[in-house]
Each structure stands twice: as structure tokens, then as C-alpha cells.
């Protein structure tokens, strides 16, 4: 029973991911006074790409073909860490957050290599910029999670979520606010959203994530796009699980699960609205201001870790 629930949650994260993208795009369009495409558009695009032919550059090696596949595998594995509607996940209680962050790192590593294998200038450019951003983003990501882990004295995601669930919703601690601030900034950087990277850009010189995908086409591109959608969805779900798990089902009753699922949809919608507002309002940071952005996130997360000392004792 429990494992069925866990698998269903994982499937929700994987299959719902394109929808999240579609809805965000729609919200953004509305904010910019456009009609916007259908929210199901990402699914159509995935199907279209999956039916197309796969092209590889003549200079590339096996790495080019393997990279998207491995990226997809890692991202799915990351999604298996995150509880959605029920306080459990396939890997949630066994694997801890270090594993989660480093699995994302493995996916990124393989995609960067794939980009470099294309043999064009843009792949290298994207990979080089991604290397900078991701190596700096890892600091606030881990430290923010460390602060929460210290508070809950657990290192596994499910344990941390279960602990938060038992707290009073009104008793916001300093640590939670600071950790949320830093992790929210990290999510923007990790998923390549607006102040850090423009997900809709097609101007080569401003691309970071998109630059790495330039040589990919057909099913390979579909896998990468799907993986980045899953990553976005999983990150949002992680924020919800860590900072607003209230309403999540802990038992096995069907009604509890159904309400928890509805609540999850509501919470995710709130985050999507927030994201689209940020994306519409904020201008993309210059490349060399991104380290400052992440430095601020690191400082805030360090402060969160320091504050655990006074909150806990």
C-alpha cells in the first residue's frame, strides 16, 4: 500500500512536470497581457520531439548520446526523494539531502559534458557558465538544508518534513524564514529561472541552460526538456514539503490523501503565481552579478545555520 502511494507520488512529480511549466507560461502570459498558449502545450511539444529524428554532430562521441539519458535518470531519482501528498517518498526516509543535492550534480555534470561534446562554441559557453553558477549554488542549497536538519535532528527529507508537520504553523522560527529565503533563491538559480537565467531566451549570448541544449534535437532534447521540467516541479515540491507541509496525509486513508493532494495543488499554484510574478517583474542579472545573488543566499543560509544554535538550545 505504502509503496503504491510512493510510486504514485513519484509519477505525479514526473508526469505533472510539463503541466507546471505550461501553467507558469500561461500565468506569465496573462501578467504580460497576452493570451498565452494552452497549458497542455509542453506535453504536445514533448510528443512532437519524441517522434522526431535524433541528430548528433559528426565530431561527437558516445558521451553526447549518453548525457541526456543519465540526466533524466538522475532527475527522476531526485524526484523519488520528495514527499508530495503523503509524508513518505520512495527514497525519502533512506536517502538524505546530501544525496539529493549530489544526484542533481551528477545530472548536471553529464549534461555539461554532453554540451562540450557538441564541438560548437555555445555548448562550451553554456557549460562554463553553468559550472560557475552551480558550484556557487551548492553552498546555500546544502547549508539551508543543514539548518533545517539541525532543527529537526534528522537528515532524511521525510524525517524533516514529519518534524515540521508537528510544529505549530504560526510558530515560524527565524531559522525557517532564513532557510526559506536562501533555498528559494537557490531554486531560482538551480532551475534556471529569471533573475539568474532566462528560460525563454534564444539569443545565444545570454543563454546558460539553453546554451547547453543547442546541439540536441528530437528525443534527446525531449528527455532534457522533460528532465528540467521534473527538476522545476521537484524543487517546488521540495520547498512545499520543507516549509509548508501542513495538510499532508500521514495515515493511509483515501480521503486524507485526496484532500492532501488538493492542498498540494493549491500550494503549488501559489508558488507558480509567485514565480511568474518574479519572472515578469525582475530583469535578468548580468552574468557577473549572479555570484552576488548566490553570495547573498549563502550568507543568509549561514545565518540560518548560526541561528539554530539559539533556537535549539
Amino acid at each position: 500500500m505504502k509503496i503504491m502511494v510512493d510510486i504514485l507520488q513519484l509519477l505525479l512529480l514526473i508526469l505533472g512536470a510539463p503541466l507546471v511549466r505550461g501553467i507558469i507560461a500561461r500565468f506569465k502570459a496573462r501578467l504580460q497581457k497576452r493570451r498565452g498558449a494552452s497549458i497542455w502545450r509542453p506535453y504536445v511539444e514533448l510528443f512532437k520531439l519524441l517522434r522526431k529524428e535524433d541528430l548528433t554532430p559528426p565530431t561527437s562521441s558516445a558521451v553526447f548520446r549518453l548525457a541526456p539519458v543519465l540526466l533524466f535518470g538522475c532527475t527522476v531519482c531526485v524526484a523519488a526523494f520528495i514527499p508530495v501528498a503523503h509524508v513518505s517518498a520512495l527514497l525519502g526516509s533512506r536517502g538524505d539531502f546530501f544525496l539529493l543535492v549530489y544526484l542533481l550534480g551528477l545530472g548536471r555534470f553529464s549534461l555539461s559534458l554532453g554540451a562540450l561534446d557538441g564541438g560548437s562554441a555555445f555548448g562550451g559557453m553554456g557549460a562554463s557558465r553553468e559550472a560557475l553558477i552551480s558550484s556557487l549554488a551548492e553552498v546555500p542549497f546544502l547549508m539551508g538544508l543543514v539548518a533545517l536538519a539541525i532543527l529537526s535532528s534528522r537528515a532524511d527529507i521525510t524525517g524533516m518534513v514529519a518534524w515540521t508537520l508537528h510544529q505549530n504553523i504560526f510558530n515560524i522560527s527565524t531559522v525557517h524564514i532564513l532557510a526559506f529565503t536562501s533555498l528559494a533563491m537557490v531554486v531560482l538559480a538551480e532551475t534556471g529561472r529569471m533573475p539568474v537565467d532566462n528560460p525563454t531566451t534564444h539569443l545565444e549570448l545570454t543563454m546558460i541552460h539553453e546554451g547547453m541544449l543547442l546541439e540536441y534535437s528530437g528525443p534527446s532534447l525531449a528527455l532534457i526538456e522533460w528532465a528540467s521540467a521534473i527538476k522545476l516541479h521537484a524543487m517546488l515540491a521540495l520547498l512545499i514539503a520543507l516549509f509548508g507541509p501542513w495538510g499532508m496525509a500521514a495515515g493511509g486513508s483515501g480521503w486524507g490523501l485526496a484532500t492532501a493532494l488538493l492542498l498540494y495543488c493549491a500550494k503549488v499554484t501559489v508558488l507558480m503565481v509567485l514565480l511568474s510574478v518574479i519572472e515578469s517583474a525582475a530583469a535578468k542579472l548580468r552574468m557577473y552579478l549572479v555570484p552576488d545573488f548566490l553570495g547573498v543566499a549563502s550568507a543568509v543560509s549561514a545565518l540560518a545555520v548560526i541561528f539554530t544554535m539559539w533556537v535549539k538550545r
Binding site: 547573498v296 543568509v300 549561514a302 548560526i306
Partner: protein
């Protein structure tokens, strides 16, 4: 306990967190207008704190002080700043000599220091540790802003942030000063602000900029 009671308790228990957030944002802010808005927000948080204390301690004079703070620090001073910057036609940038992330690290260290200082005194002071630490952190951050921002406007703002901290510390350690002194302090600040405003006009008239770091001629 009614709704007001719950709100009071929440304000008292978590206002220091929000004060910390405002000073972190002040360290990040790159525009003068943002900094002024943040100062106004910070003062609003302190207003809420004063009103909550007044409600809890049943002090009528605290309400008066709260209203005074609101009028002067949340509305009047920020407005004066906006008018001032508009009249001075100065550039929006605060001209920080440290990058945002460096500033935040400095502020983080200051928050840590103020916490450590307050905790080392332990029970010697009656005030709740969090809030007193927030007050000291405000003083330190104000000083840091004055040191690291080159615009004369920001020096005034730093002074005001410091004053916020001093006011908060006084409020927390004495649980409400005599009203006369409070009003005296406000008057003091208003006069100071007036003087600074005049000074800034003079500076920008004479040197055609507001960059303090270029005022080397003062050395004589």
C-alpha cells in the same frame, strides 16, 4: 485572549526575525529609493512592536509614542528623503564600496556578534534576548551602512537605522521611557535631519555631486 492578544504575542515573538530580514535587505539594496523604503518598513515593524508592548504592559503613553514613530519615521522621513533625492537630482545608486554578498556576510557576522554579546550577558538584562540582539544588530548595521556607502544620503539613512536600534534597545531595557525624553529624541532627529538636508544641498551645490569619498578637500 482575543484576536488582538494573539496578534500581540506573534508580533512580540517574531518581530526580531523581520528586523533581521530588513537589515539583510538593506545590505543588498543597490538603490537609494529601495533603502529608504526598507527603512520605512523597518520603522513600521518597530511601530508594531511598540504598540504590542503598549498593549501588553497596558501603557497608554506607548500608543502615543507608536503613533509618533509612525508619523515621523514611517511617513515623514521617507517622504522627505524622496523629495530630497528628487530635488538633488542625484543618481539612484548607493555607491557601495562592498559587493552585496560581502555586505550580507558582514551583516551576518554583526548579527552573530550581537547575539553572542547578548547571550553572554544572559540573565543580566530583563529584555528578551532575540529583540535586544536585533536592536544591537540595527546599531551595528547602521554604522556599517554609514561606513560603506559613499552617498551622503546613505550616511543619513545609516544614522537613522542606528537611531532605530538605539530606540529599540532603550525600549526593551526600560520598558518605556518617559514620554518627554522620547519626544525630545524625535525632535533631536528631526533637527539633525534638517541640518543634514541643508548640508547635502550645500555639498551638491558646491561640488555638484554627493559622493562623500571625493570630499578630500576637507583635509585642508
Amino acid at each position: 485572549m482575543g484576536l488582538v492578544g494573539i496578534a500581540t504575542e506573534k508580533i512580540l515573538s517574531s518581530f526580531s526575525v523581520f528586523l533581521f530580514l530588513t537589515i539583510i535587505l538593506l545590505a543588498v539594496a543597490r538603490r537609494i529609493s529601495t533603502s529608504v523604503l526598507l527603512f520605512s518598513l523597518q520603522s513600521a515593524i518597530i511601530t508594531a512592536e511598540v504598540l504590542a508592548t503598549g498593549f501588553q504592559e497596558k501603557l497608554a503613553s506607548a500608543y502615543l509614542v507608536g503613533i509618533l514613530i509612525f508619523v515621523i519615521k514611517v511617513v515623514a522621513i521617507p517622504r522627505a528623503f524622496f523629495v530630497l533625492t528628487k530635488r538633488l537630482k542625484t543618481v539612484h545608486d548607493v555607491k557601495a564600496s562592498t559587493t552585496p554578498s560581502q555586505s550580507v556576510f558582514v551583516v551576518a557576522v554583526m548579527i552573530y556578534l550581537s547575539y553572542a554579546a547578548v547571550h553572554s550577558y544572559g540573565g543580566a538584562v530583563r529584555a528578551p534576548g532575540d529583540s535586544l540582539a536585533a536592536a544591537i544588530a540595527l546599531i551595528l548595521t547602521g554604522a556599517f551602512l554609514m561606513v560603506s556607502r559613499k552617498k551622503a544620503v546613505m550616511q543619513v539613512l545609516g544614522l537613522l537605522v542606528m537611531e532605530n536600534g538605539i530606540f529599540l534597545a532603550a525600549l526593551l531595557t526600560t520598558f518605556g521611557m518617559p514620554l518627554v525624553i522620547e519626544i525630545g529624541i524625535f525632535f533631536d532627529i528631526l533637527m539633525g535631519l534638517l541640518l543634514m538636508g541643508i548640508f547635502m544641498f550645500r555639498i551638491s551645490d558646491t561640488f555638484e555631486h554627493l559622493d562623500v569619498s571625493k570630499l578630500r578637500r576637507l583635509r585642508g
